[in-house]
Each structure stands twice: as C-alpha cells, then as structure tokens.
Symmetry: C4
Subunit: 197 residues, 4 copies
C-alpha cells in the first residue's frame, strides 16, 4: 500500500506539468511572440510549482504517517483510497488555477480541494489511533497534539475559500501562512511527542 | 509482476483526471462564467470519482488474489496482461461517460468495459485454481463460492448495458447495487472460506 | 534498473490510452451521433490493444533477459536507456496508427519503431554475452539460437515497412506472423537451451 | 525516497512523448500529406530524444549520488523535492523546444531549465557532504573534484542561454559539448576519487 501511495503521489505530481499547455503561435512564432506567450504562461508555471510544493508536503506527511503504522485494516485501506482520490484529483484544480489565477472561483476551488486532502489526513490519523494500528501505544496528549496540528491546515484552507472572494492574493497567502504558524507552535508541543513526530 | 500490476493501477487511476478538461473561457473568464463552466464539468468530475472508486475496488481485489498465489505460470502472466489492458483502457470510457453522462451509449460502453474487467478476474481465478498455483489446496466449496461472488459483478455490469437504453440512472445504480448484495450474501458463505477471503 | 525499466513499460502502456481522443460532438450528442463517433474510433481502440499486446510481449522478454543477468556495466545501462527511449516513444506511432490506420506511412512508421525496439533487444543480448554479464557461462550454440530467435521479429518488422505500401493489412499480418513462426521453430531449439529461455 | 525519485524520473521521461502531438489532417489524409506532417514533426521527435537523453543522464547521476548516501535528513529531502520539481517540469520546455526549435527563446528557456537541474545537483552534493550524510568520510580533494565536475554542466547550460540569441545550433552544441569535456578532464582526477565516482 505504501508503494502504491508513493506511486500515485509521484504520478499526480508529474502530471501537473500537463496543465501547462504548449503555446500555439501562428506562423511558427517569432521571438517577441514566444516571449509574450511565456509571460501569459507565468500563472500556469507558478501554479505548477505551488501545487508541486503543496503535494510534496503532503507526501512527506503521508510517509511519516505510514511510518507510525504497525498494520492496516480494511477501513483504513478504504479511507486511504479516498485520500488518494483527492490527491489524484489535484492536477485538475491546479490547471484551472493556472488559467484563472485572479478568479475567486478557481482560487476557492483549489483551497477547498486541499482542505479535503488535509481533512482526510486527520480522518486517517483518528482511525489508526482508535483502531490501535499504531506501532505502539500513543499517549492521549500526543494524539491530541497531532489532531490539532493536522487540523490547522484544514482551518486555513477552508478560511481561504471565502477570503478568495475578497482578495485572491490574501487567499493564496492563507495557504502558506500555516507553515510559519506550525513552526512557532512547535515550541509548545508536549515533551512526550518527541518520539513520534 | 505484482509491482508492475500495482504500477499500472496507480497510473490508470491518476490518468482519469486528464479526462476532466480545463475549461477554456474567452477573455479570461469572469466569476459567473467560471462557475457555470464548473457546473458543466460536474458530470466529468463525478465520472472521475466513480471510476476511481471502481478501479480502486478492483485493485484491492487484485491484490487479494495475488496474496493467494504461490507462483505464476506463462498462461497466467498472459491472462494478467489481458486484464491489465482493460484496466489501462478504462480512462477512455470514463472520459466518454463524463462528456455524455445521460447518453445510453456511453453508459453502456462503460458498463461493458467493467464487465470485461470483472470477467477477466473470474478467468484469472479459474486458471490459478486449475493449474494448482494457489498457496495451498483450496476446498471445492470455497472455489465455487469465489467463482459465484466474483461472477456477480459481471452479471450486474452486463445487465446495465441493456438497462442503459431504458434509464441511464438505473444503469448506474446497477453498478453499485452489487456492493450491498455481496455484503448480504457474505452471511451465507461456507465456513471454511474464512481462511481464504 | 529493473524497477525503473518496469515503471517505464507500465507508464508507456498506460499512456497509450491518451491516444484515443474523447469524441467531441456538438449539442451534447444524441445516441446515433455517439454510436457513429465510436465506430470512427474503432481503429484508435484497435491500435491501443495491438500496441498494448506488442509492448506487453517486449516487457515479458525484457524481464526474462534481466533474469539472465548477473550484473550490469555502464555500456549496458546506456544501451538499456536507448532501448527504453524507443519504448517510451511508442505511444506516438500508436496514436498516428490509430488516426491513419489505412495509410502506408503510419503503418510503416509503426513497423519501423518496433523493428528498432526489437533490434535493441538483440544489441542488449550481445553486449551482455560478450561482456560476461550473464549469470553463468552460456554455450555458444545457445547464444546463437538466442540471437536468431530475437532477430526474427526485427526481420518481420523491417519487412512490413515496404509491404505497407503494397497492402497495409498484409503489413499488420507480418507483425503477428512472427508469433506462430517462433512457436514452430521452438521444436528445433538446441537441447542445452532449456535451462536458459 | 529513492523509489519515489526513480518513479518521478520514469514518469517525466515517458510524459515527454505527450509533447509530440498526433498530426490532424483533413479528410483522413493521404500518403503525401502524412509524410509532410511527419517532416513537420521532425523537431518535436528530435526534442523528445534529446530530452530523454538529457534526463536519462541526470537519472544515472542521481542514482550514483543516492549510492553515496548513508542517510537523508529533512533539509536533504526538501532539496531533493525541489530538484524533482524541475525534473517534473522538463516536459514543458521540451514541448516548447519541439514546437519552436529555431527560436532563441525556447532554446534559452530549455538551457535555463537544465542549468537549474544541474545546479540543484551541486546543492544536493554540498548538503550531503557538509551534513555528514555520505557513507564514509570523503577526502576534501575528492569533494572539490566532485563539485567542479558537477558544476561544469551548469556553466555550459548557462552559457547556452545568451548564445541561443546568436545561434540556436551553437547553443544546442553547448549542451552536448560538456560530455567529451568531462571525458577528457577525467584523466586529471585525483587518484583517491576512484573509490567514489
């Protein structure tokens, strides 16, 4: 299952590039026309790198999560497939974002897609904890900390959905604001969590 | 062979997203136009998730089947490649279904494609049983049960082909009706099959 | 290297489906129009399955070849990358074949592409034999037999190139004629080759 | 991480073929029209093989680098994801190069993309050396030699960017000139590097 998940992450991340269409210029295109086409593609290229960073970050987190597991049961396999369905779906909202970078609808739909991925991560973690599938007994304080920390991206991604209709730039800032926040909050983590995350 | 099969499943499932085309709006598109484009894409997105669930279910079943094998012979490798050909083919009927969700032809062709995948699963199971490739001797009652249970989806998928011309919604319902039915029938399974499935 | 080769085969075989374009009908398309579109796509679907079978056969052969190797040296890694380049290239001539099934140019270019893949197989085998990279000493008679048998597809594929300009159907028949011929010739194989192929 | 990196290389290399569009001729196309279409596609096919060779060469180098590692730390995982992002990006400049082979902008953007990939390789090597992640203590002379040799492609790729505006053919020659140069310089390598590269 880990190899299968890794494969889907690798394919989804590489497929993002298909969203950057090759510019089609009439008459073969001279230098100025191609340079202009490149500047038109700036948002598509930016979306590729944003999405690659976002999915890459989830891949690292998913890998760490699998490292905590001692076994999987059928519900966890099913939930993991739901999680992977939304990972495999991401090249679509990424492509839309690249084409309509300033449009609240595309920014909101991208934020919503990532919020679902993030939410599924919390669901997977809860299932593994409750069904006793972790490598060893996890202290309740460590579990609560893990739930809080993995719920933070859900909150920020959901927040970006309404914010997109006020300002798309602030909404995109929301997506990345969670990284320094997690860094700061890391100081207040329970001491016993050191062995886990 | 297992790694190769897993890889093809992962790629086929991720390629489904290519079937959801990025909407191309004139003049960059305002909010209303993009929202409308999204509602036009509803069936394509729905087809993506239906197909992801269907292929994911076959991946789990295929994985379980490989867990029962002690070895593969050349005919089984060949049959498995035929099976994988139809798995790799699925993004095409999925894309057609997404574009023509209410059209009996697209619903019927999708149902037929899945029926062939399901049928190949029965063929693989028969070959492995008859050529003695299972990890240990399988009781005849367990084998018959396995054939019945894996033939059920074939029957329902074939049934959906003519039904699609009467009602496409009922045909789609046929695809999923098999899941609760298998759940109910599971109560009548032979006791000795517990060690197998 | 084996996992990498397997991955490229799996991806190339799954990407073939991208060559079957989803039909784009005006006004959503009624049943008759979609049925007609399907019959227009018949050659593209046929090309998908022909190419899947052809690449699948090379995958099995490539896998057997890796099973004979004790080690790889740099020239063999380089030659294997050249071989994989032509495997990764195959979705292109397959797509062209699907669109222009009756055109001598597309049939000839497909035959030529497969001839190069087949020829690279002979080159890989020669390199492994001459550089002493096989698991154990191979008798000269077995080596000669292996070269003859793997050169047969090259000859038939090259033959199909000029034949395509006389009859595209006979050219396609050439591609598959090699399978029964190899089956018949298998009777005359040297006795000591049983441990090898 | 190695399997994940290998997967991304395999997918990026196979996706290059998507950049070669199937020619769309009116009225099915006769032989002459298809032959002409093929000659129009010559630059796209050439770009596929150039890019396959270039990415293949980086895959071999990346594989050798992983063979020198004893462990990875988080910064190295992060840097490796940045490296892979540019590998996954390469099908885009390759597609542009195929369509506008004689255009300085497309040649320069391809050279720049490869320069970044090459530069990231130097960064990965420095990080692994300084953080003590190599399998054993590397002599300073071997490290300096490795930095010089992996910086050479960066220099030649960056050089090709301005050169492209003078002559695109000379710029393409720059990309490949580094191979014989590395071959010649190999004679002056420090004796103690034999155990490393």
């Amino acid at each position: 299952m880990l190899a299968f998940s890794d494969g889907m992450f690798a394919i989804a991340m590489t497929l993002l590039v298909v969203g950057i269409g090759t510019p089609m210029l009439e008459d073969g295109g001279d230098e100025g026309a191609l340079l202009e086409a490149y500047s038109d593609l700036f948002h598509e290229i930016l979306s590729f790198f944003i999405s690659f960073a976002v999915i890459g970050r989830y891949w690292v987190a998913h890998h760490q999560f699998f490292g905590l597991l001692r076994a999987m049961d059928y519900p966890l396999v099913g939930l993991n497939l739901v999680y992977l369905a939304f990972i495999a779906f991401l090249p679509f909202p990424t492509g839309v974002l690249g084409n309509y970078f300033d449009n609240p609808i595309s920014v909101a739909s991208y934020g919503l897609s990532i919020a679902i991925v993030s939410g599924m991560e919390v669901v997977l973690f809860r299932r593994a904890y409750r069904a006793g599938l972790l490598v060893r007994e996890m202290p309740a304080s460590v579990y609560r900390w893990g739930v809080v920390m993995s719920s933070l991206p859900v909150a920020f991604m959901l927040l970006s959905v309404p914010v997109a209709f006020l300002s798309t730039i602030v909404a995109v800032a929301c997506w990345f604001a969670v990284v320094p926040l997690q860094f700061v909050l890391d100081r207040y983590r329970p001491a016993e969590s050191k062995d886990w995350f």
